[in-house]
Symmetry: C2
Subunit: 315 residues, 2 copies
């Protein structure tokens, strides 16, 4: 009797669900919108119902389901304790208790960036590395740390919050988190656009950026690749802060490799090159020349990592 597990990546706007066999192959995947009503608990009810419908449809017996791995958009510790999920309007609950109560199945949980890190380490670019740091550059900057093949969750689930490392204590603008000078303010897609606009105001440089109404991180990288002076300066500034932050992370956890994902990582090798360049001067000799890679699982990293939470004991 073949066994399966579900990987469920709950985001602020959508829920991704994957059905995996016990060998870790993704057999089928789905997605649906995140409901934010019911003090945020409706989305958990939706997940439970969805899994029930799929298992009934596929005539899977309860014994065939090894469990549900869940990723949440906020801090979750190893015991499933959630302090606050502002995105979903949820506060202080235990995701494992809630969802196993609703489904009668084994549940394990992690933060979204952490499960994506685990996915990349298991089946993506991080394969073969026992310890790895994953950074996702999107609207924000997320991070996840894998040590000996396991998520480093932290006491309240806030480990790996690389996007909110302070890289510029003198920044006058506030980050979404309330602090000033977080990495996310410079290395996210929105941060890159902001750097570009700031530098454009100063003027002076020869650039194609000023012609553009809608500056995007993609445009900045595209122009940088074509040698645009100002675009190169923007890329260097963003990668400078990222390299600096990753050096701090290296001094703390000494990982074998860094894997960079998220929308901005579609810029490709130029990103890896520049980040590496800015990483080197800020680490001790024994931490130099680490491996830097682009992520390879895209949006599926999360569901892979969720499945891994359940299947880890099987390997």
């Amino acid at each position: 009797m073949e066994q399966y597990c579900f990987g469920v990546d709950i985001g602020g706007t959508g829920v991704k669900v994957g059905l995996f066999d016990a060998s870790g192959n993704l057999r089928e995947k789905w997605s649906f919108s995140t409901r934010k009503t019911g003090d945020g608990k409706d989305v958990l009810r939706d997940v439970a119902d969805f899994i029930k419908t799929r298992t009934d449809e596929k005539k899977l017996a309860k014994e065939q389901i090894l469990g549900i791995g869940v990723g949440l958009p906020g801090p979750v510790n190893e015991n499933g304790e959630v302090l606050e999920l502002a995105n979903l309007g949820l506060a202080q609950f235990n995701i494992i208790d809630e969802l196993s109560g609703m489904t009668g199945l084994t549940v394990k949980a992690g933060n979204d960036a952490n499960v994506a890190a685990l996915g990349e380490q298991w089946k993506g670019s991080g394969k073969g590395f026992k310890s790895m740091v994953f950074i996702t550059l999107g609207t924000g900057v997320g991070g996840g740390i894998i040590i000996n093949g396991k998520i480093l969750a932290g006491s309240v689930g806030a480990a790996g919050e690389i996007g909110h490392i302070t890289v510029q204590p003198d920044e006058d603008r506030a980050c979404g988190c309330g602090k000033h000078g977080c990495l996310e303010q410079y290395a996210s897609a929105t941060g890159i656009v902001r750097i570009a606009k700031d530098l454009l105001k100063n003027g002076g440089k020869n650039t194609a950026l000023s012609d553009s109404e809608d500056i995007s991180a993609k445009l900045v990288f595209d122009l940088a690749k074509r040698g645009d002076e100002l675009a190169l300066e923007v890329v260097d500034k963003a990668c400078g802060y990222l390299g600096y932050a990753l050096a701090q992370v290296a001094q703390v956890v000494d990982p074998e490799a860094f894997v960079i994902g998220g929308g901005v990582s579609q810029a490709g090798e130029i990103l890896i090159e520049r980040v590496k360049k800015h990483y080197e001067p800020f680490v001790m000799k024994s931490l130099k020349n680490r491996v830097f890679l682009l992520a390879s699982l895209g949006n599926d990293a999360g569901i892979y990592g969720c499945a891994r939470l359940i299947l880890a004991s099987n390997y």
Copy 2:
């Protein structure tokens, strides 16, 4: 038949040895000088001979010795692999293989600051905390990170190198490690003296420090406690960098507590207060209000941690 283990803390100048019973009580301790001859291997031979002499003297059978835990003054990973021990003149060897070859006993090893961290978490101020960051402020600044009661060693043993986190990228003077602006350049005993001398040059402030020929970190803290304006400025600067660095560490590993040891920590509560004050603005909401404590085992932290490496499986 009672069982024992040895904790051996090898430093650049001296070796400390502790004999522990299986319940973790320190029964007896000794120390001797570190020999740096024989490409650094003589000190390992000395350790092996010393342990042989003590076990013979005490008429202990081999089966009564659970093993030897060793701390080394440089990076060591979980497998005992050492890249370089500049202090001892040793390069690229495996401490576990070497010392178990010499003694026929089980050997486990860690970096000196890491084993001290483990000691404090096991029997010192960190007792009761599953995850903890230990910082030792002496001639240099060392660090060790404990996650779920275990040392976070890192892939080459360089995790927890908090003293070499870059806190001031614009620093023109080089750190001993070759980088610029490492925490160690400001928060070590020598760093504190340097800050004091720099601020004295600027003049202006009312201070008793200028009267003093021999400025020491102790003097700076003593005067700060009596309200000396310039001394308070020095303390604030050193603690500012330390608070900032520990905030970066918190964003990466989310520990329950911070324990501060080493000579400078004898300054007492003023140090804890100031570091805490400077930590808060640089961490996310969920990382605020962490526990900050002074270390309590002094120079014995290392041998306790070494013993714990051997006894951990017994608990």
